[in-house]
Assembly symmetry: C2
Amino acid sequence: MTGLRRKAAIIGALMSDPASALNLELKAVGVEEAWFRIEHGHPSIPQQLRQRLLSVDVAAFMARGAAAGARVVMPGDSDWPAQLDALQLHSPWALWVQGRGLDALAEQRSVAIVGARACTRYGERAASELAAGLAARGLPVISGGAMGIDAAAHRGALAAEGITVAVLACGIDVAYPRENSTLFERIAERGLLVTEAAPGAHPTRPAFLVRNRLIAALAYGTVVVEARVRSGSISTYCHARNLNRVLMAVPGPITSPESGGTHALLQDDAQLVTSADDVAALVAPLGSVSVDPLARSKTEWDQLSRDERAVHEALPARAPVSVEAMLASVSPELGMARVFGALALLAERGLVQEQPSGEWKRVRALRGAEA
Amino acid sequence: MTGLRRKAAIIGALMSDPASALNLELKAVGVEEAWFRIEHGHPSIPQQLRQRLLSVDVAAFMARGAAAGARVVMPGDSDWPAQLDALQLHSPWALWVQGRGLDALAEQRSVAIVGARACTRYGERAASELAAGLAARGLPVISGGAMGIDAAAHRGALAAEGITVAVLACGIDVAYPRENSTLFERIAERGLLVTEAAPGAHPTRPAFLVRNRLIAALAYGTVVVEARVRSGSISTYCHARNLNRVLMAVPGPITSPESGGTHALLQDDAQLVTSADDVAALVAPLGSVSVDPLARSKTEWDQLSRDERAVHEALPARAPVSVEAMLASVSPELGMARVFGALALLAERGLVQEQPSGEWKRVRALRGAEA
C-alpha cells in the first residue's frame, strides 16, 4: 500500500463533514498537499485537527482494516467507482471495501433501494422482490444495511445470487445494527461492504446523512420503497435528485402512513415503479429497452379483442375513414355499436384517433403485430 | 313540456351511437330540423330509423319517464349542465334526471370517482372515504352506479350528507344492477340520477362505454380508485383526458392486480391522490388552495427541528454564507456536524440550497413562519 493511499484513508477518517469549508479546501488541493498542510499546521488548519493527525498510529490504523479483510480504494484506482466523481469536492477521500462486486458497480447500472427501518410486511416484500428481480438481471442492489427495507433489499438480492452492496455509516469492522451481523457476513462473502468511515468508527446521526450521499452517488437510480413523510431515506432521495439520478418510488395503500413519504415523492418528481421491470427500464441506457406498462408480456396484437382486431384492420394505414365506411368493410355481424365500442378501446390504447370530422384514423402501428 | 323537449328526448333515445356520422349530422342541424329529416325520410336517414320514430307512442314514452318521477332537461335549459357542451357534437340530445343536485352540478366543481366492479376492501374504503371527504367540502361526487368502487363512492357521499350523482347506462326507471336498487332509491331522494337512455331501456356494453363520456364530461376531474390493467373505468379516464379534465388515480399495493391499471395511469399522466384534500386541491380554481403534500396540517415552522430552526435563522435572507460563518452565529453547542445535518434537512425541504462555492443560501421563505 502506497503512502498516498494511507494518507487518503487517514484524512478521510479525520473529516466528518464533507461539506465543510475546510474539507472542500483540502479536497481542492489534493491528498499530498492536504496531508502536508495538516501535518505542518497551515493557517486554515484548526490546531485540534493537526493534533489528531499527529496522534494517529498509522500502522495500527491500517492493520485494523486489513484484519477485517478490507482494503482501501481511492480516486484514480482502476476499480474506483467513477460515478462517485459526480459528488465533486464532496466525494470521499477513500473507501474501505470488503468483498467482491466493485467491478460490477463500475460496469452495471446499479440501483439503490432504500426506505424505512420500521417498515411493514408489504414494504419488506416489495423491497425484497424488487431487489431479487434486479439482481436476477445482473444489476447490483445498493442499500444502507439498516433494519427494515435496507435489509430486505440486501436479502432479496442475495437470494437471487446477485451482487448487493451495503454502504455503511460505521467502520467496516463494526456490525451496526447488530441484528444484521449475519447479513453483513453474507454480504462480505458474496457482495460488497463499503464505507468511508475509519475501521472501528461507530455510527452517528450526521454520519448516516453523510453516508446517504454515497448510496445515491453509487447508484444510477434510487428507489424509495416505504417512508413516512419525515424519513431519513428521503435524504438519500434528495442527494439522488441533486446528482440527476433516476428517482423512483413504490406506491402503497393510501391508508398506510409508511407510504406517506413515497406518495409525497410521487406527487413531486419520483417515477412510480411497481416491478423490477419498471426499474430496469428506467435505469437502462436510452433505447435499449422499451416497456409499455399496459403491454408487458404479450404483444399488443395478443391483447386486442376480436372486434378490436377487425376494426383496426378495417382502418387504412394513413387516411381517416368514417365509421360507416368501416362498417362496410368489416364482417356484417359487427354493428355500429360494436364498431364504436372497439374504436373507443383502440383509442384508449393510443392506436386510433378520432378526427374533428368524426372520421377515424390509425395513429401508430401495433407493437409486435403479426398482421 | 314543449314539443321541442319531447323531440329531443325521443331522438336521443333513437340514437345509440353519439359518434356515428348520422348522429353528428343531425346534431349539427338541431332538434327541429333533425326531427323533420327523420320524420320525412331525408336521403341520409336509414329507412329503419324513420320507421322507429313513426312507431313511437310519444305520450306513453313521456309518461313512463314521468311516472318514475323523472323529467327531461336539454341544452339551453337554465339548469342544463354547461360542462357537457365540451362534448360538442357528442353531447346528449337530452337527459332524464331524477332527484336534486342539478344546480350543484352547475355551480360546484364535481368529481367523478370510478373504478372496478370487482374491487378489494381497500379500494372500497378508499373510494368511500374520498367521496365522503369531497362531499363534506360541498363537492358533488359523480359515478356510474355500478357495484364495487362506484357504489362505495355513492355511499360515501351519501354518508357525508353530500350530493352524489349516478349516471346510468339504462333507463331512469331500470335499477341496474339490481343489487344497488336501494342505493338508487336513496340517490333519487337525496342526490341525482341522470341518464340519456330512454325510460325502460336496458343497459348494453356499448351503452356503458357511451355513458362513460357523460361521467367524464360532468366532472371537473376523474379519480380512478382501483382498476385492473384492462378495465372499463379506463375508458372514463380517457374521455376525461380528451376533455382536458383533471386526471387522478389512487395508488395501492404493487402486489394487488386491482391497482395494476391505476399504477399504469400514474406512470402515464394521472396525478397521484391520497386524500380528499389532494383531490380538492387539484380541482380547485387556480390560486384558491395551496397544498404542500409534506406540510398539510402544520405550518412549515412547526415541522422544523430546533437545529433546523436555528440554522435557518442563521442564514441571511438573500446572500449565501459559509458553514463556518453560520457556526459563528448559532449557539456554540451546535457543532459543524449538527449544522450540516440541519442544512441537509432544510435542503430537502427546499428551503436552502448549497452554492457551487460550498456556501449556503435561503431559497424561499418559510410557509406560515412565525419568525
